[in-house]
């Protein structure tokens, strides 16, 4: 009456072996357990040798349900497809992380219009850091672990506990089958066949007239080795997020300055930056006069490590030199996992200090020069009988809305200094003097006129720089990409293991031959996981050695061959 399948089918095989739920082929003799399957003549389902996966069980609990979800290959494929689709979304517009200095909230709208705005608002401008993408990766990781465990352990057990004598149906429903007459004593014939099999590298086990020959079983572990590699890979990528394991910053290094690398104890000095271009003679005809091609970017860099007083800003850090390298493209400075790559440059000179001399413009007499630093200058200077005290300093001189002098930026683009000079022949309260070290600023801001106004017409003192040797500037600024990636070795190890697994799985095949000789009839079944053609050839050549001549094609039992 009840036509529903019984909840628990009888899993005890007629050979007497009790199989776990979910078993397809009896673990002992290989006979199909399902009634319907037994009536079929199709090839047997040989995946995992027909054993039950770990997750297949009666009355699954909540943990089993989660486990079963992740153990499903179908789910794994869906996850991979979803991840691929998600990754594709991330490639529509450049990711935020590829830019150094943008305001993402306006950049996408301005550059790509409405589509860009939607892209940004959906959070796709940082696809690979988004919660859903990371969740997908975590789920793939979970699926990798659980799928593998769920299959590798039963498979391992099945392959180590193989029985030599198999059910006739197990043999005749393989993809490689031979049923033929052999008029010989079974044990003698089987022993005779063992020799060529062993020569071909098979491990042979016999049981009377039954034989099991097997080789290259290790190739079955290939996929699981790949999975282990992938898990290490994923864990390494995950570990990059831990503090101290990964750093990627772009920093400016002014020539001649020792600059701290933030978040490390290192300081780097750019001793000299060079950029060279190909001359016209060196370029092919069609580029001459049209293109400017760089030949060399080079930063002569010295790396220092701070040994004491590193954090306290009131003390000068004590540095010791640890590495010297001429950084070029693809030749970074590398020290203990820290790498400095050439990234960009700026040839705008940056003024560091000048050494002007106080000169009496009436007599031409000089009173001696002094050093005026742009950053943290001295406050008073002595030049002959005159004392100059620095009152104001503007790095980027300009006037604000109210016409007052201000600095427009903290960078010494147009430095200006206001001195109060005291000394002989000057008013008792001193005379104010505005000084622009750069010639262009002197003219643009009319230093002469300002000073005439401040000092009156009887003014006779001027600050003058005598030559270029009295000007110190950083000729250029080199931009370096400073990177630390301590998880990288693990990424490589993971990738290496994946490669090993691929080689194991691809270049060898697990080949098995079962046979049974009874009452003058030989029943042979063969199974491999790939390269059936080569497998059949091998069987034919082995049988030829014991004078059994078979046609290669006649071994083919159908069923979609590879």
């Amino acid at each position: 009456m009840n036509r529903r399948e019984p909840l628990v089918s009888n899993t005890k095989c007629e050979c007497g072996h009790q199989n776990p739920v979910g078993t397809v082929l009896c673990e002992a003799c290989g006979k199909p357990l399902d009634e319907k399957d037994r009536e079929s003549a199709d090839n047997l389902e040989m995946r995992y040798d027909g054993v039950a996966r770990r997750s297949q069980r009666v009355n699954p609990g909540i943990i089993d349900l989660i486990w079963n979800f992740f153990s499903s290959v179908k789910i794994a494929i869906y996850l991979i497809v979803l991840t691929l689709l998600g990754s594709m979304l991330g490639t529509i517009f450049p990711q935020e992380s590829t830019f150094l200095n943008i305001d993402a909230s306006t950049y996408y709208k301005e550059t790509y219009g409405t589509a860009g705005n939607i892209y940004y608002r959906l959070g796709l401008s940082h696809t690979y850091e988004s919660w859903w993408f990371v969740t997908l990766l975590v789920m793939i990781g979970a699926s990798l672990v659980i799928c593998s465990l769920d299959r590798v352990l039963p498979l391992y057990k099945a392959l180590t506990r193989q029985k030599i004598r198999k059910h006739r149906q197990f043999l005749t429903r393989q993809k490689v089958v031979l049923v033929t007459k052999v008029e010989e004593e079974p044990e003698v014939w089987v022993a005779r066949l063992s020799e060529p099999l062993k020569k071909k590298g098979y491990r042979v086990k016999t049981d009377g007239g039954a034989l099991l020959a097997e080789k290259h079983r290790f190739s079955r572990w290939g996929p699981y080795v790949i999975h282990i590699g992938l898990i290490i890979f994923l864990l390494a990528v995950l570990a990059r997020g831990l503090p101290g394991l990964n750093m990627d910053q772009h920093l400016a290094f002014q020539q001649g300055e020792v600059t701290k690398i933030p978040d490390t104890t290192y300081y780097l000095k750019n001793e000299k930056f060079t950029v060279e271009f190909y001359t016209d003679d060196e370029m092919p005809e069609e580029f001459r006069g049209k293109k400017v091609l760089p030949k060399l970017y080079e930063t002569k860099a010295v790396l220092y490590e701070c040994t004491a007083d590193c954090i306290d800003p009131s003390k000068e850090p004590k540095l010791s030199e640890v590495a010297v390298h001429d950084i070029r493209v693809n030749s970074p400075l590398s020290y203990k996992g820290l790498k400095a790559y050439q990234f960009d440059y700026d040839l705008t000179p940056v003024l560091r200090s000048v050494q002007p001399e106080l000169v009496n413009s009436a007599t031409g007499e000089g009173y001696g020069k002094f050093k005026l630093d742009m950053k943290n200058p001295q406050r008073t200077f002595q030049s002959g009988p005159y004392t100059l005290s620095l009152k104001e300093k503007y790095m980027d001189f300009g006037l604000n809305d109210e016409g007052q002098p201000v600095s427009k930026s903290p960078y010494p683009n147009a430095p200006a200094f206001l001195f109060l000079i005291t000394g002989p022949d000057l008013p008792a309260e001193g005379q104010q003097y505005f000084y622009f070290p750069k010639q262009v600023d002197k003219e643009q801001f009319q230093q002469q006129a300002i000073n005439d106004k401040l000092g009156g017409s009887g003014r006779f003192l001027e600050l003058e720089v005598q030559g270029m040797s009295d000007v110190d500037f950083a000729e250029s600024t080199s931009y370096l990409n400073i990177r630390v990636d301590r998880a990288m070795p693990f990424v490589w190890v993971g990738a290496g293991i994946v490669m090993l697994g691929l080689v194991l799985g691809f270049y060898w095949q697990h080949r098995r031959i079962w046979l049974n000789l009874e009452n003058g009839e030989l029943v042979l079944g063969g199974h491999t996981n790939k390269n059936w053609f080569g497998f059949r050839r091998e069987i034919v050549s082995i049988l030829y050695k014991v004078d059994v001549i078979v046609d290669e094609k006649s071994l083919d039992n159908g069923g979609g061959l590879a």
């Binding site: 943990i63 919660w131 990371v134 975590v138 864990l235 800003p313 620095l390 790095m395 201000v406």
Partner: protein, 174 residues
């Protein structure tokens, strides 16, 4: 069969949950390390105009108004009187206003302080380390840090007297 499996399954699933939770969590809750409202204010160690090193820990138990400024930035100049006024009003009630100058030298800072006539403590972030750890990009930016050392709110742009008063009031009497 399978009695030993359950604990193994539970162990594996919880390891996945732990690692996965960490991965997802760090992607949701700002992996960039910049402080947000409600997160802990990063510590700093900066040189004050007095020549001494000042840290955020010095002001533990106080409400801190941390104002990042530069002498070249117009709105910074304009908001200074408001900051000074609020400093005078609230300093006896456990509030400290700290000005963090971004990347300028001592002389510039000293002249500026004289010019705008302020007397709340000012520290100099010459290496821009605090700018980095606080994730400051435009100036001025002001962080309101409560007595527990957590960022209560962040104000980007010029402050005005009334809203500043309100924000400090909220800091003192949450």
């Amino acid at each position: 069969m399978g009695k030993a499996r359950k604990p193994i399954q539970i162990i594996i699933l919880s390891v996945i949950l732990l690692l996965g939770g960490y991965a997802i969590g760090s992607s949701v809750f700002g992996g960039d390390g910049k402080p947000r409202e409600g997160s802990k204010a990063p510590s700093f160690e900066l040189l004050g105009l007095d020549g001494l090193t000042h840290t955020l820990d010095e002001y533990k138990g106080k409400s801190v108004v941390l104002n990042f400024w530069g002498s070249w930035c117009g709105p910074c100049v304009k908001e200074m009187p408001a900051l000074q006024a609020q400093w005078e009003k609230w300093k006896d009630q456990g509030v400290v206003v700290i000005g963090v100058n971004v990347g300028e030298d001592q002389m510039t800072v000293e002249n500026f302080i004289k010019l705008v006539d302020i007397d709340f403590p000012v520290v100099m972030d010459s290496g821009r380390s605090a700018v980095r750890s606080y994730g400051v990009s435009p100036l001025p930016t002001t962080f309101f840090i409560n007595t527990k050392g957590k960022v209560d709110s962040i104000h980007i742009g010029q402050l005005d007297l009334d809203s500043l008063d309100g924000q400090i009031g909220k800091l003192v009497n949450p």
